[in-house]
């Protein structure tokens, strides 16, 4: 992503045990006003913090369905450091939290005009759209100016978790009711798997319970010599 954002400054990896407030200080030291902090947990979940550094607000997202730019099926390409057009879904203006997130995204992802590392042309579009209560990010190359596009990548889905008033902390302004943490999701999946076994055993037991007792005891060898004549058997078949 850094190749696409010429206005970004990278910072070395952070110790996990540090408080998140440390990031504020780091940003101030490097003279930044916006911050993207990517946090990987358990080697499988990726969280993204978007923050407006000195005062806030900040938002925390869960990153899902991440495809990197190095994937081979994305055929587009663009200049390194050209300024992206930011395209937003109409849904962003309908609710307060979406519009706040939109403002945050605009301020973080747009490259300032005449930035020394940027290129003066426009050849790619960032698309942010809302579907299924998530923000879907796509990056397209502008092939022709009549509107033919090719995807460059990366693509990812941001599932908002919370919006805080401060930067990396402070009172919560918004909490996503649709958000289920990946831990819970995995827990549910495992539980469902376990319940499958339990329910199978239950079903077996209940079947045995429901099977009625024989009403009259008969000798199973009684009907050994009750046979069908071959003529009848043929008729049956």
């Amino acid at each position: 992503m850094r190749t696409l954002m010429p206005h970004a400054k990278s910072e070395s990896k952070m110790d996990k045990k540090d408080q998140l407030f440390v990031i504020n200080e780091m940003c101030e030291m490097r003279n930044c006003s916006k911050c993207i902090y990517l946090e990987a947990k358990k080697k499988q979940d990726l969280y993204m913090w978007l923050s407006n550094v000195p005062r806030g607000p900040s938002a925390k997202f869960l990153v899902e369905n991440l495809h990197t730019m190095s994937e081979l099926k994305m055929t587009g390409n663009c200049l390194k450091g050209s300024r992206p057009l930011l395209s937003f879904d109409q849904e962003f203006d309908k609710e307060a939290h979406w519009s706040l997130i939109k403002e945050l995204l605009i301020q973080t992802f747009s490259t300032p005009n005449h930035h020394p590392k940027s290129q003066p042309f426009f050849d790619h579009v960032y698309t942010f759209s809302i579907a299924d209560n998530r923000i879907w990010f796509r990056n397209y190359q502008i092939l022709e100016e009549d509107g033919s596009l090719a995807e460059i990548g990366p693509r990812f889905v941001l599932n908002p978790i919370r919006i805080f008033e401060g930067s990396f902390g402070g009172p919560t302004l918004f909490q996503n009711p649709h958000y289920v943490s990946p831990n819970d999701l995995r827990h549910l999946m495992r539980k469902r798997g376990a319940q499958k076994y339990m329910s199978r055993i239950q079903a077996k037991k209940s079947l045995e319970m429901r099977r009625g007792q024989p009403s009259y005891e008969t000798d199973p060898t009684d009907d050994v010599f009750v046979t069908i004549r071959p003529e009848d058997a043929e008729e049956d078949s």
Partner: protein
């Protein structure tokens, strides 16, 4: 209130005893009862959100921000209207994003042109790209590979179809030939029996003329009848030795074996039952002794 009512109605249907029995049988479990998500969890401080939005908003010109809110382009509207319901349909979802980006491009590019800002990179402007040339080469290779794979599979499909068709034609030809042969044989049979007088069916044969010409030339090339017979009798060409030995097929050849003749008991000659009055029948013992005594 609704919940309470439903509970009370349930309890009226299921008595306590029944419930206890069900619990003993393991049909009731605490885990099956659905846990309602806590409603207090959601926080949506709209006023606060709007407040912070106002505080962070900067009055920058649009050119600094380059943001656009756009409807999807109208080219695929019917598809998009369906896609809003279904997020898990990959194709429709991606199409929606694509259309949105397209609409943005169509909106922004003229606006930039009106500001007299260059949008298109000139052909002789070279700069580092986001993806390296090496990477793009690999992408292109992959694309080509995909295309060739598709072509190959299509070719194979076509070939398979052609083969199928060819076989059909072949079968038809064979059937036609057999039919002709059968008709011919029928006609010959009828002629032999005298039902037909004319031999005109021989004339209508397809490819008859060529055959007749060929026959003549073939006749000329063949040796005369006498030589042919001699060849057949004494052999001509090929290996002579071991020609009279038994082979597997000759040993198994049962064509000359007639069970009516060869499988009878010895002595019983001919067909049918022995005649009732046999002339050289041996007389009985008493008669024979009498005859003996008379001779003496």
């Amino acid at each position: 209130m609704d919940l309470d009512e439903s509970f009370s109605s349930e309890s009226s249907v299921d008595s306590d005893e029944e419930l206890q029995e069900a619990f003993a049988a393991g049909k009731l479990r605490p885990g099956l009862n659905l846990e309602l998500p806590a409603s207090s969890k959601t926080i949506n401080n709209t006023a606060g959100l709007n407040q912070t939005l106002l505080t962070i908003k900067k009055n920058l010109p649009w050119l600094e921000r380059l943001d656009v809110t756009s409807k999807p382009a109208t080219t695929h509207k019917d598809l998009i209207s369906q896609s809003e319901t279904d997020v898990h349909d990959d194709f429709k979802r991606e199409l929606r994003f694509y259309c949105q980006a397209q609409a943005t491009v169509l909106e922004v590019i003229p606006r930039l042109h009106s500001m007299s800002i260059p949008t298109k990179r000139p052909e002789d402007f070279f700069a580092q790209m986001a993806k390296s040339d090496d990477h793009m080469k690999r992408v292109r290779e992959k694309l080509v590979e995909k295309q060739t794979a598709i072509e190959r599979s299509e070719k194979a499909k076509k070939l398979r179809e052609l083969r199928k068709y060819g076989k059909k034609v072949q079968i038809e030809v064979i059937q036609k030939r057999q039919k002709e042969k059968k008709e011919m044989l029928d006609a010959v049979k009828k002629y032999r029996k005298g039902q037909k007088d004319k031999l005109d069916f021989l004339e209508n044969l397809p490819g008859e003329k060529k055959n007749s010409q060929n026959k003549k030339s073939a006749d000329n090339l063949r040796p005369n009848k006498k030589r042919e017979f001699k060849n057949k009798k004494f052999g001509f060409g090929g290996q002579k030795k071991r020609s009279k030995m038994n082979t597997k097929s000759s040993a198994l050849d049962m064509s000359e074996f007639n069970p009516n003749i060869n499988q009878k008991k010895p002595g019983k000659t001919g067909k049918g039952k022995p005649k009732p009055g046999n002339k050289n029948k041996r007389p009985g013992k008493a008669r024979r002794q009498k005859a003996k005594s008379r001779k003496k």
